[in-house]
Symmetry: C2
C-alpha cells in the first residue's frame, strides 16, 4: 500500500507543481509555498479528506544530518541532501508522525503517537472553539443574567495543562471578553464562568456559571490611535537613519552576510526564527570560523500564580502549545523596525495544510550601538592620543504574538564577535475581573495587583529557554565553569589578607552542567578543547547572563513537572537530533515525561563532544499600573561573547566608517 | 583677621572680574570660569603663593539647602540662594576645608582636616611624580641592567591604599612602561621595580629593584589608526541619523527639556556628571512630577586580585582618588557620540586653581530605542488591529578616563518614565609582565590570565556606586521590598500544589534596607507613601538591577574595609547634605572610617523621610585575549522604572513620529 501511494503521489505531484526557487535552496531553508502544497497533497493522497478528518498541526523541515549540512557548506554542489519534512497531523482523532521525503515525493514513515500530550493547536480549531459559547444557551443565559450584550462578546481559547488527571482529551478553556467600546478585549474579561470545549468533538463539554464579578469598563483602555482623543503626548521628533553607502549587510535568499559575520535565517512554524551556521571571519587567520550551528527559542513557559478556578490552569507553553512560528505577526514598517530595515517574508500553514503567506515576518537592520572601543591617553608627554570607534551592529527581529502578549525577539550581532539574543515583552496583561475598585477593599489574597478599578493583573512568570548548539571551530566542544573563589592569605606574605582567583572545571556529564546562575560567581564558557590560541588558551564563547529568574513553584507541582526545564538556568546536553523541544514534542496536556529535565537524567558524557547549551532567561512579573492597558516594553537579554576565541581584539583594526552629513542635493 | 580679609577680597575681586552669564545661573550649575578664578583669588589672597605652598585638590559647589533649591524651582525670581563653594586645598602640607560664599566674595570658614585620608590627587603633582624616576640614578641603573632605553620610558602614578600602617604620608607608587613603538604603554610594563614617591616632598622615598621579567613586545598593540597597516577590517558602513523636525530636546544653559522630561545637568570635578531635578510631565494630571533630586556615581572601587609586591596595593577608588570630573575627557564627535549629538562644554580646575576649559565634556542625543509598545490583535472576528509605537529615547554621555580605563557613562531617559544609567568599560587592561609565553609554562598562581605572550591580565573588579536621591512627588519617601514567596497549597482547594505571591515590607531603618541582590527574588521600590493612585497604590519607582556582583575579598581585608560600601548592592539612608561620597571625603590612604557602611551603623529611621538610595553595580573581570590590546566595550546597566507612579501607561497616547524618507532636494 505504501509503495503504491508513493507512486501515486509522485504522479499527482508532478502534475500540479513546478519548483522555481529564486535561489538555490539551502538545506536549512524554511519550507516554501510549493513545498507546503506538496506536503498537503502527499498526505491528502494517503488520507483523502473525503473520508478522513485530517488536520496539520506541525509541518517542519526534518533536520538534515549535521555532517551533511556541514559538507554542503563547504561544497554545495558536491552534495545533495534529501529534503525531508516532518509532519504532525491529527487524522481521525489519532496523532500521526509522518516523515516525507520531498526529493522522492513520498512518505517515508507514518507512525501513531500513543504517548501523553497533544500537538500544537491549530488556529482553525481555536477559531471554531471560541465561537461555541456564543451559540450555547447556558452561556447566553449567563450573559443575560449579567446584563451584557452577546453581540459585544468575543471569546478566546486557553490551553489547560495537566493536573494529575488519568485521562486527557484535547480540551481548551474558553474565556470570554467584552469587545464593546474597545478592541482591548483582555482587559474586559467576563469573570466567573468556566467553559471547557473539546477540540476533537468541537463542543462544550463542561460549563459552570460560578459567580459574578464586575466587568471592568472600557474607559482608557483603547490603544488604537484612531480611536483616541486629545490630549496626545508625549511628543516625539522623527529620527531617521540613512546609509549613504547602502546597508552593510546582504541577504541572499535566507543567508545573511554582514561585516565579518555570515549566518542563515531559518523559520519554523513551531520555533519561529532560527539562526544557524553563524560563523565569523577572522582577519588574522584569514578564514571564517564556525561559532553557532543553531540557535532558537525552544520553549516559553508562562505560569500564572492564581490557584483559583478562574486561573489555576493558566500555565502556558507558548511555543509547544501555540507555535512561535504560527504566532509570528507581520512587522509594521517604520514602527516595529526602523525605516532603513529590510524585511523577509515567509510561509506558515493552516490546519488543512495550505500555505499562508506571512509578509514582513522578519526584519534585518543595522543600528548605532554605542562605542565599539575607545581610549584617550594623556599620560605620554607631548603626545595627544584619542581613538574611538563607532559601533554599528546588526539586528534581526521577529514579533511573536500569542493572544494578549507580544514577544519582540531580537538577535543582535556585533563585529567584535558578540551575539546578543534579547526578548522584550509588550501587549496586554491577563486581567481578572473583580468587584474591588480600591486597594482598601482587598480583604484576602487576590493573586496579583490592582492595576485599574475592577482589574487585577495576575502574578506570573515568563521563562524562555534558548537552544544554543555551539560548534566552536568544529563540532567537538566542552563546557567549562570557571568559578571565582576567595583565597584568604595566611602566610603573611602580603600586606593583603585576601584575593580572589579562578578555578576551572570541565563538565564531565550532564549533571555537572546544571547551573543555577547567581548562587556563586562563575564564568560559563563553551570551548573547543582541541584548538588553542598561540598562548595556549582554549578557544571559546562565554555566556553573560542577565539577572536570572528561578522557578518559584514547588517541584512536585504539575505545571513545574511539565516545565522542569526551568529548574536550572543552564543545561548542556550531547547533540541529539531529536532533542529539540525542552518541554517535549507534545506539550498540550503533557505530563512532563519528555522534557530536558528527563533527558538529562541519563547523565550522558559531554566532554569534547558535539554539545548543546540550553539557557533559561526569565522574568517574574508583578504587574503595575503602567502595564495597563498596554505594556511598555519589558526586556531582558544575554550575551554570547568570544573568550580567547580570537588572538586579540578582533576589531582592533576596524576603520571608522566614513563621516557623512545630511546631504544637500549635490552629494 | 578674617573680616579684614573678606573686605580685601571683595575689593580685589570686583576689580578683576565681571560676571556676564549667558543665562540666569541655576543654583546647581557647575562652577563657571569666572567663579573658579574668583575662588582662586579669594584663597590666594588669604594664602599668598609668594609665601605659601598652595594646591587646590577640590573645588565644588557646596550643595545649597534642598528646600531652597526646590523653592527656586517654583519661583526662581523670588528666592536668592547664596552661591557657596567648597574647597579642599593642601596648604603648607595641611589639608584645609575652605567654604567660600561667592555672593559676598568671602571665606565663610576655613578648617583643617586632621583625620585619616588625603584629598583627590592633582594632575600637576602626578606629572611631577612620574618624572622623578627618569632622573633617579638607581632607576637609570635598573633600566640599563634590563637593556632598555630610558628615553623610551614613561611612568605613571598609582594610589597606594592603606594596609594597616600606623602613619601615612601622601605617597604614590610609580610604575614605568615602554612607549617604544607603541602608545599603548600599559601593555608594556617594566616589571619588578618598586618606586614610591612622596607627593609632599616630591621625591622618591622608597626604591627596590626586585626581579626582572620580560617587557612584552609592542607587536600588535598599537591602536591608533594612523599607525596601523593593512589588512583593515571588519568593514562597517556609515549609518547617519537625521532629525527633520530638529532634535526633540532643548538645552537651556544646563537645563534640558525633552518630550515629557525636564532635568538639570551638573558637573563636579569629583563626581563628574550629575543629573538633578528630574521631573516628568504627567499628561493626565496636567502637571510635572518630581522623580529624582540628584543622581551621580559616588565612587568606583577597582581592587586588583594579585597580592604580590607588584600589584597588591592596586585597589583604586577612581572617583575619590583621581576625580571623575578631573578625569572626564573631551568626547570625539561622530565617534563617541552620533553625528546628530549636541555637546556641552564645562570647566575643571588645575592644582593652582586656574580654570581649564573642557570642550565636549558631555553629549546629548536622541536614539532609536526599540519598540515603545505594540500589539497585533487577531482574536476579534472581522477586525484587523496592529498598533506599534517607535521609541526614541534620550542619552546623556560622558567618558571618564582614569589612566588605562575608559568609563563610558550614560544616562538614558525614556518617555515611558524609565531612567537607565549605564556603564561601559573600554581602554586598556592593567598588564603584568612575565617571562611566560605559553599557558603550559604556568607553574604557579599568576593571578590573572595570559592575554598575550609575556602579558598577564590581572583579575580585578569594578564596583560603581550610584547616589540616587529620589524625591518621588515630594521629599517624603519610603523604601519597600516586595518579596516573592512560594505558597504550598495544603487544603486541596485547587488542582495546583503551589503558587507564588508577594509580601511587601517597608524598611524601617537603614539596617532593613541593606540588600544583597540575587539572594531571593524581590522588587525594590522607592515610594511616596503619602500619594496614592486612584485605586490606592503608593506611587513609586522600582530598581531593575543587572546581574549583581558581590565583593569577594574578606571583610577584614584593608581594601574591603575602605570599600565597605560594596558589602550590599542597595543601601538606603536618610538624606544628609554631607553624606555624598560612599568611600569617604578623603579616600587616598583612607582607613574606611567615613564610608556608607559606617554611616549606616547609626541605623537611622528611613520611613516617610527624605531618603537616598545607593546602588552598587559591579563587574568581576577575568581578562580574555579579546580584551587585548584594547578592550571592546564591556557594559552593565540598571533601570529605574515608574511603578504605580502613573495611573496607567504614560505613553498610551503618544503619537507615532512623522515618517520621513531620505530627502530629495525639494523636501
Ligand atoms: Cu508578564
Ligand atoms: Cu576590567
Amino acid at each position: 500500500k505504501f509503495a503504491l501511494f508513493s507512486v501515486l503521489t509522485l504522479l499527482s505531484f508532478h502534475a500540479v507543481f513546478s519548483f522555481t526557487p529564486l535561489h538555490t535552496q539551502h538545506p536549512l531553508d524554511p519550507i516554501t509555498k510549493e513545498e507546503f502544497l506538496a506536503v498537503q497533497t502527499i498526505v491528502q493522497n494517503k488520507y483523502p479528506i473525503s473520508n478522513n478528518k485530517l488536520a496539520f498541526h506541525y509541518i517542519g523541515v526534518d533536520d538534515p544530518e549535521k555532517d551533511l549540512v556541514l559538507k554542503y557548506e563547504t561544497s554545495p554542489t558536491l552534495i545533495s541532501i534529501p529534503r525531508k519534512i516532518f509532519v504532525v497531523a491529527i487524522i481521525n482523532s489519532q496523532t500521526h508522525e509522518i516523515l516525507i521525503d520531498l526529493t522522492i515525493k513520498s512518505i517515508v514513515s507514518d507512525n501513531i503517537h500513543n504517548g501523553y500530550g497533544f500537538p500544537v493547536l491549530s488556529a482553525a480549531e481555536q477559531f471554531l472553539a471560541i465561537d461555541l459559547p456564543l451559540k450555547y444557551p447556558p452561556f447566553i443565559a449567563s450573559v443575560n443574567k449579567r446584563g451584557l450584550n452577546i453581540s459585544e462578546i468575543v471569546c478566546s481559547s486557553f490551553t489547560m495543562g495537566w493536573f494529575g488527571e488519568e485521562k486527557n482529551s484535547r480540551t481548551v478553556r474558553v474565556d470570554c471578553f467584552m469587545k464593546e467600546s474597545t478592541v482591548n478585549i483582555y482587559v474586559r474579561p467576563i469573570t466567573g464562568i468556566t467553559i471547557v470545549a473539546d477540540l476533537d468533538l468541537m463542543k462544550i463539554v463542561e460549563y459552570h456559571d460560578r459567580d459574578t464579578e464586575a466587568v471592568p469598563t472600557a474607559e482608557n483602555t483603547e490603544y488604537q490611535v484612531s480611536k483616541q482623543s486629545p490630549p496626545f503626548g508625549p511628543k516625539q521628533h522623527s529620527l531617521t537613519s540613512h546609509q549613504p553607502q547602502g546597508p552593510g549587510f546582504q541577504i541572499n535568499g535566507t543567508s545573511v552576510s554582514w561585516a565579518n559575520w555570515k549566518f542563515h535565517i531559518g523559520f519554523d512554524v513551531r520555533a519561529g526564527i532560527v539562526i544557524s551556521l553563524a560563523s565569523i571571519y577572522d582577519l588574522e587567520k584569514h578564514k571564517s570560523r564556525r561559532v553557532l550551528y543553531k540557535g532558537y527559542i525552544s520553549e516559553l513557559f508562562v505560569p500564572y500564580q492564581d490557584p483559583t478556578e478562574e486561573f489555576y490552569f493558566k500555565t502556558f507553553f507558548d511555543s509547544g502549545e501555540f507555535g512561535f512560528g504560527l504566532s509570528t505577526v507581520s512587522l509594521i514598517p517604520n514602527r516595529d523596525c526602523p525605516p532603513h530595515a529590510q524585511f523577509i517574508d515567509t510561509y506558515i500553514h493552516s490546519a488543512d495544510g495550505t500555505p499562508i503567506f506571512l509578509e514582513n515576518a522578519i526584519c534585518v537592520f543595522e543600528q548605532y550601538g554605542n562605542i565599539m572601543w575607545r581610549h584617550t591617553e594623556t599620560g605620554i608627554p607631548n603626545e595627544s592620543i584619542e581613538e574611538s570607534r563607532t559601533e554599528v551592529d546588526l539586528a534581526i527581529r521577529t514579533v511573536v504574538t500569542v493572544g494578549n502578549y507580544d514577544n519582540v525577539l531580537d538577535w543582535e550581532f556585533k563585529t567584535s564577535g558578540w551575539m546578543k539574543p534579547s526578548i522584550a515583552l509588550s501587549g496586554i496583561l491577563e486581567i481578572k475581573g473583580t468587584n474591588i475598585k480600591h486597594k482598601d477593599e482587598i480583604k484576602e489574597e487576590i493573586h496579583g495587583k490592582l492595576v485599574s478599578a475592577n482589574s487585577i493583573g495576575i502574578y506570573h512568570d515568563h521563562f524562555y529557554i534558548y537552544y544554543l548548539d555551539f560548534d566552536i571551530d568544529g563540532t567537538q566542544n566542552s563546557f567549562e565553569k570557571t568559578s571565582l573563589k576567595t583565597v584568604r592569605i595566611v602566610d603573611g606574605g602580603s600586606k593583603r589578607k585576601s584575593y580572589w582567583t579562578t578555578e576551572t572545571q570541565t563538565a564531565k556529564t550532564e549533571s555537572d552542567a546544571k547551573i543555577t546562575i547567581g548562587l556563586a560567581p562563575a564564568e560559563l564558557v563553551v570551548v573547543n578543547p582541541n584548538i588553542k590560541t598561540a598562548v595556549g588558551n582554549e578557544v571559546g564563547y562565554r555566556l553573560i547572563p542577565a539577572i536570572p529568574a528561578h522557578p518559584l513553584l514547588t517541584e512536585d507541582d504539575y505545571p513545574q513537572i511539565r516545565g522542569a526545564f526551568t529548574n536550572y538556568n543552564v543545561w548542556v546536553t550531547p547533540y541529539n537530533r531529536t532533542e529539540k523541544w525542552a518541554g517535549g514534542l507534545y506539550v498540550d496536556h503533557s505530563r512532563g515525561d519528555d522534557t530536558l529535565a528527563v533527558w538529562t537524567k541519563k547523565n550522558r558524557e559531554i566532554v569534547n563532544k558535539d554539545i548543546v547549551m540550553w539557557h533559561v532567561v526569565g522574568i517574574h512579573h508583578v504587574p503595575a499600573q503602567e502595564d495597563f492597558p498596554i505594556m511598555p516594553l519589558l526586556s531582558t537579554s544575554f550575551e554570547l561573547r568570544p573568550t580567547n576565541f580570537f588572538e586579540r581584539n578582533p576589531v582592533l583594526k576596524t576603520l571608522p566608517p566614513r563621516d557623512f552629513t545630511w546631504p544637500g542635493c549635490s552629494n
